[in-house]
Symmetry: C2
Subunit: 576 residues, 2 copies
């Protein structure tokens, strides 16, 4: 490609709403242009990267035996009503009406449609297993779209759906996809981690996320440096930090703690470690018949509630919310900040975190403003907790399966594999005739990859102050040839053209910057765009028989003989 | 590809709503599955063809210097209000609201968005010309979607938009696209015709349609066998069939024609040629202030009104409709069937077709039930027509530019190129700084290709009683290897595998039918699917050292020596 025939338009400034590097850099590099909140035009440079990601995903999906089809963006509501998601899915599901006032949705995923296809297409066990996928435009009406392509409303996703005769087969299909995903993210050239994950609203029993490691990621990943254990913090087990409960050493005392409404303030005031305090979190559930039920969750003062774990407690599975201030005052006889399990105004259900259940002489709110209890002991000062459960987020250093301390890093979720079982096949009655001739429910798995999000995540992981640093596999161009003095020097033009032709012949995706720009402007532009290898061809260098090679990632300029330019460029690209 | 790993599912019966061959055959061959009215899932076989069409279109667009980007499916209403199309576009424009109650559309085309991009991206004449295109999902909420992929609601279109400094440049861009389209449709292997066309609602001055020739086409194409003149019948000039008006030979007579409300009945009753009669068509316009205005259009009895031409008459350009029966009775004092220009109850505006204006002694309605006038002559019995214009459709035999009779054939519109001028750049104020540093409006062209419609049109043109006959360039597979006795014979398997590997090595898109099906079932399936070349490998043939080759189009089986199988298959494919 010649730059003069391409559309390049880099910007000095990022838009004011761009909070993260990928959003800023994609806009500045001219890869995307905002059309509306969370809706972007993919400009030529951006689309080129997206297509390279798609091509790798497609090759590996095909290689893993999956079959590509394309399901529509606009899907009839009937199927979504059949699965129940028409009601369950929140405002993110964009519901629309056609000219005849019939209900449709803009698809956020396609479980319903593929299950409908399967129940019509698959009749016999002989047709199984089969894995259908498509790469299609998705729409999720995010309340607050942000971070450019990372959390857009319109985006591109690859979603695959496997169908099997039984759970064993479905597990095999799952493993095949897991392996394919490992290959995909390796080929993309990204540092990533596959972690065990919660199955969320899609449901099912088994699930892994593929996370691109980046400090700006919204997910926290827990991993064991001594084993292959890795999980999303939503799911990662947080062990008790106390092997057993020590005998009480203090007596219960109602202690004034004026103005100390947070555990840290209480610890400071009383001169005790934060790990001696217990915090009270008040949740509510709303049974269909009867008034709201109030739950008191107790965590150590330095720990954080894991809301996903809370949602798995018996009694909270159907959904929960934080209690309102008036509910709290009604049940505890006290405003928030001084709450605790002893002497509540009305009965509440008490759940203690694993660590809290083993604490002795603990400090908690006294259900009286400006007072805390110290020397609190289970069984003596209050009943044993109704329920003891893992309620907290793992913290770095918690002991992992290998016996070593767990580590935590941030990631961006770019892929997700789910074992679905019969969730959708049951709802839509998708059956096949098994070997005995009897109808049986199809066993399903689903497998997503956020194509456009990968582009954002790749930049979050790979950039510096000057711009993007593309992995070679998905760079919009692999090599940029920058001739200095294009307009003036026939020698420069000839050598640049020669190298351009030679690289093209080798199948390299190369751009020749024939716009006759000043070197500084040209270099800054290609560094912003992030092309892995730059070759500078100038009269001065040619007089010495050399051109200059620069790897975007390493940054240093290397002079190479004109005769070696092709081989050296290819070598630099192989290492990029 | 091995058939056992692919998803093939052919059907014996076409769905009851499939009116045309392509809809029937695509469904039977398992290429598409209906999800809702006009909304289809592209099954693996169908998607494969679509992707081949896309690839050819993309290559030629890139080769012609156009730059690919991707504009969103969901577009904000603001831009459509700025262009005026929010109001002008009918119910086919699917208008939706997001969760914040903001207005959006599902794009049917992207003139507004690309013009918005251009006004933000293009600052200087130095950036021109540029031609942006995308291949994207479109949505048009057709009142009555039908014909499968030929008139769907969700479909795939390639739309390109050129931007130039002046009209000369824009014409050059138009010509470049015209030439690219010629190459595209040639490469697709379709019989087609580029015809001059009406610019319709998109507007602009110059336009050509690319039509795939097919008897089932909805468009009528007029062409001159003696020159390169070709036009859509909507636009094709219909000359006067009478060089000049003959002198009157009869006197005016009010003649009883009981029950003869149609020209043919009148001609039969009076024993005169249909070409002596004149029919009356009553149109109405609705001025913003004031009552409806009534127009009487006169055509020879054997001619048909061309509604597009009517819409170009002075006074009718802003829109017209057929008059209601009560309007007709009010203005003519008579019900339809006996209307004419003489003695109307109220004044009406009379427009005569070119031929009618030169007729003498003509026969027309007398504005009295069961009566016609005979011997009617312009200037003597009624005033000269207020307006004389080309109002009719061309009929075969009308004299064309070369002096030969024009011919008519049916076509399916699959591509359209428009010279837009400043229609959108003016509405959206899309300017650039010209060489003198002054802002000037961008000159635009737009260029569409119906990717998915091409697939339907290709089938309408290429099929027989047994199924589809794909042009090799867009066949889902180019060659099908059909082993007879796959399960039993190792010899058959070995030879089939050998040929399969050899063809793959040559880059041929080949499918090996390893499903161990009976030959009749297998042959019928591949003939339905329409693979251009079939190679049958069977034990009996192998015993004689031969395999059988069949070209789907020619149909005859040819025995070729096993050693020549590869070369002969390639040769058959080259001729397919």
């Amino acid at each position: 490609m010649r730059a003069s025939r391409y559309h390049l338009n880099t910007l000095k400034e990022a838009p004011s709403d761009a909070e993260v590097a990928s959003h800023q850099l994609m806009t500045r590099a001219g890869m995307i242009r905002k059309l509306a909140g969370g809706i972007y035009t993919y400009m030529p440079l951006g689309l080129k990267v997206i297509r390279k990601v798609e091509a790798i995903v497609r090759e590996e999906m095909n290689g893993a035996g999956a079959v590509e089809l394309l399901m529509p963006v606009v899907q009839p509501a009937e199927l979504w009503k059949e699965s129940g998601r028409w009601e369950q899915y929140g405002a993110e599901l964009l519901r629309i009406k056609d000219r005849h006032d019939r209900d449709f949705v803009l698809q956020p995923t396609s479980e319903e449609v593929i299950t409908d296809i399967a129940r019509n297409e698959i009749h016999s066990w002989r047709q199984l297993p089969v894995n259908f996928y498509h790469i299609q435009t998705k729409f999720r009406d995010e309340r607050r779209p942000r971070f450019g392509l990372m959390r857009g409303r319109e985006f591109t996703m690859k979603d695959a759906y496997s169908f099997d005769r039984d759970d064993e087969g479905a597990q095999r299909s799952y493993d095949v996809m897991y392996d394919a995903y490992m290959r995909i993210f390796k080929r993309l050239g990204l540092e990533f981690r596959a972690v065990a994950a919660d199955t969320g609203s899609i449901g099912g029993d088994r699930s892994h996320e593929f996370q691109v490691i980046a400090d700006t990621g919204e997910d926290l990943l827990v991993y064991d440096p001594g084993s292959d254990y890795a999980a999303n913090i939503e799911l990662a087990h947080a062990p008790s930090l106390l092997a057993e409960r020590a005998a009480p050493a203090e007596s219960l005392a109602k202690t004034p703690t004026p103005g100390a409404a947070k555990c840290q303030a209480v610890a400071d005031l009383l001169g005790i470690p934060l790990a001696r305090t217990v915090k009270s979190l008040v949740l509510a559930t709303d049974p269909e018949d009867g008034p709201a039920q109030i739950w008191l969750l107790l965590l150590r003062g330095d720990h954080e509630l894991n809301e996903v774990k809370a949602g798995k407690l018996p009694g909270l599975k159907a959904g929960w919310r934080f209690a309102t201030e008036s509910e709290i005052v009604e049940h505890f006889g006290c405003k928030p900040g001084y709450l605790g399990p002893i002497g509540t105004a009305k009965p509440v259900r008490v759940v203690a975190d694993l660590t809290v259940a083993n604490m002795s002489d603990l400090v908690c709110g006294a259900n009286a403003e400006d007072f805390h209890y110290t020397g609190v002991n289970w069984g003596r000062d209050l009943p044993e907790p109704e329920l003891v459960a893992d309620l907290r987020n793992v913290v770095a250093g918690d002991i992992g399966p290998s016996g070593q301390g767990l580590a935590i890093q941030r990631g961006i979720e770019v892929g997700h594999v789910f074992f679905l079982g019969t969730k959708y096949s049951e709802a839509l009655n998708a059956t096949f005739l098994d070997e005995t001739g009897k109808p049986a429910l199809l066993r399903m798995g689903c497998y997503g990859i956020g194509i456009t999000r990968i582009v954002g995540a790749a930049i979050e992981q790979n950039h510096d102050a000057r711009g993007i640093i593309w992995p070679a596999a998905i760079a919009p161009f692999q090599v940029a040839i920058c001739p200095v003095g294009w307009g003036k020097s026939a020698t420069v033009r000839d050598e640049a053209e020669k190298l351009y032709a030679a690289l093209q012949e080798q199948g390299v995706d190369v751009i020749l910057d024939d716009r006759d720009q000043r070197p500084g402007v040209m270099f800054a532009e290609w560094e912003l765009i992030g092309v892995p290898v730059r070759v500078t061809v100038g009269e001065r260098g040619l007089a010495d028989g050399v051109v200059e090679l620069q790897s975007r990632r390493q940054g240093e300029n290397v002079k190479v003989a004109v005769g070696d330019a092709l081989a050296q460029t290819l070598a630099a690209l192989a290492q990029a």
